[in-house]
């Protein structure tokens, strides 16, 4: 199947050996949009790399640029003002909602319901409007800066954000009516694509896919990196089936994560220091700390980040060509690059019709996979 195939959510090939309608063996084939970002980053300044990180995953741009920014701050040793951390958290969680909505919208046609796609994209537009107010662009925001954020919350953002997030929480009941109360969806998604927790951890799978299997491992709580520890929330955990997490559990966990993220956004809007309504000019020390632009030879920085698809990571070695203005090596850890081979193996033994159901439930994003 592929590279041009409705199942793939992107551009990759899944070589499938079928016996009648039953899948016997699978092998993924990646690299169709391999762009060599890691090589290009070696010849860019630390600030220029953010745009490439935005374009790593087209469904969740903010999470990737923030992952890079945290690693770069780890490399350059920057203390970030707290207000900037809150603004980042708001941006990341809104992006997480948008990404999960995109997944849900893409998962509807996988099982044959087109209206789910259109509805989810309709709600995604609201989140993108909010992010557009922050970042200025529609998809690739280039929002975070080393040491802070590009811009403060615009005036009236809190009001609109609260209103839209609450509206979204109401609209989620529509999806649950469309998916959960449809027996056809249940018999399609339940009992296919079982995955076990320990097996997934050993295979490098993380994020919602592992939380669907009944464990609450979350980078945000295991390796706390932002102001998540100051907000009142818990990572959503799905009670999986005995044989492991199936597609229905992975669907449920993402719905729960959307609720969690909405809850986080609302809390952060309340708790943000200085209040959500005060506006600081760009470059104000309250939202942007001074950061060195050079990293000496041999220093390295790394950071584990809870992406909307799993654990994303950047490892940056400073002191490259350009006498430290540019990194010597930037290495990107993409969750889906590790997850897709594992997901391809989980669908052995199921029907051909289950391939989109199983593959889509892992939320593949090829932009980050091929880099």
């Amino acid at each position: 199947m592929g590279p041009q195939h409705p199942m793939t959510h992107g551009l990759w090939t899944l070589k499938i050996k079928v016996d009648g309608e039953t899948v016997v063996d699978t092998e993924p084939e990646l690299g169709y949009i391999h762009r060599g970002v890691e090589k290009i980053c070696e010849s860019r300044d630390f600030t220029q790399i953010t745009t490439y990180c935005d374009r790593l995953c087209y469904a969740s741009a903010n999470t990737w640029s923030h992952a890079y920014i945290y690693a770069a701050e780890d490399l350059l040793g920057v203390e970030v003002p707290e207000r900037a951390e809150y603004i980042r958290l708001i941006a990341v969680e809104l992006q997480r909602i948008a990404s999960h909505l995109m997944w849900l919208g893409a998962y509807g046609p996988d099982i044959g319901n087109l209206s789910a796609l259109v509805w989810c994209l309709r709600e995604r537009e609201m989140m993108m409007d909010l992010l557009q107010e922050l970042g200025g662009s529609r998809m690739h925001y280039n929002f975070p800066r080393i040491g802070g954020v590009k811009r403060d919350l615009p005036t009236g953002f809190a009001l609109r954000a609260r209103h839209k997030v609450k509206l979204f929480l109401n609209r989620m009941q529509e999806y649950e009516a469309l998916f959960d109360e449809s027996t056809i969806f249940l018999i399609r998604s339940q009992g296919v694509g079982y995955t076990k927790a320990a097996e997934m951890i050993n295979a490098g799978v993380s994020g919602p896919n592992i939380r669907a299997a009944g464990v609450n491992y979350d980078i945000r709580s295991a390796h706390p990196y932002s102001v998540y520890s100051e907000l009142d929330w818990e990572p959503a955990v799905e009670r999986s089936s005995i044989k492991g997490a199936d597609c229905y559990d992975r669907y449920r966990i993402r719905m729960e994560e959307m609720r969690n993220s909405a809850n986080l956004v609302l809390q952060a809007l309340d708790k943000i220091p200085g209040g959500a309504e005060t506006y600081h000019e760009p470059g104000d020390p309250k939202i942007l700390a001074k950061a060195p632009s050079r990293a000496p030879e041999g220093t390295s920085g790394s950071h584990h980040f809870e992406d909307s698809r799993g654990e994303s990571m950047f490892y940056i070695v400073g002191g490259g060509e350009g006498r430290g203005k540019k990194p010597y090596r930037v290495s990107i850890r993409s969750p889906m690059f590790i997850t897709i081979p594992y997901a391809a193996k989980t669908m052995i033994g199921y029907k051909v019709a289950d391939i989109p159901a199983i593959m889509g439930s892992f939320d593949p994003c090829i932009g980050e996979t091929d880099r």
Binding site: E73, V80, I201, A222, P224
Partner: protein
Amino acid sequence: MRVVSEKTQSAAAEKMAKSLSKMDGVEASVNERVNGTQTRYIVTVDVDVENWRATAESLRNDHEVDYCSMITGIHWPESTEKTWEIVYHFLRTGVTDPAIEEGVVVPNIVDFSKVKGMNVPLELQISIILGDTRTPSVASVQDIWAGADWNEKETWDLVGIVFDGHEGMRRVLNPHESPAGFHPLQKQHKLRYHDHEEMYDDAQGFMRKPSDVGKVK
């Protein structure tokens, strides 16, 4: 939210570093990293190539490091003391399958604020330094961490580091027909237009140097 306290993490990191340093060819230390507003402790380990396999097995068995996050290969052609460096990033998650009681799964909810012992989440950064060689090679840990499988494939594909004992090594990102020995992240491969500085400042290329005549613009 209940998160891992920094004290617990640093104590566990010290413990692991101490016990790792006992092995020969291994120097482990704990360094403190500040990211954002939080402080975290990373166990950084330097391993010799020949001890890597034994170290990996002890990590998996004695220290329950169960999650291979990333494998990075770095090429240092100009550097004096090292030509190749392989950096492993591991996580210790302490994730186990949830228990099953009377036919219903009971999710294991770990309270990260009071984890102890082997369940404390940890970050490891292991670096292996290779001397000047044409064929850098290191033992594969594919069978220890299944997550290392495609990481090693990618590292060989992009950087050209050979993993001994790796099953089914193939190109995953570059095209299959790309020439043997072409590993784009090695430093001798330059980017397109890498010496055309004016690619940035004048896109039309009015200020082209005479040396650029004939070069693709």
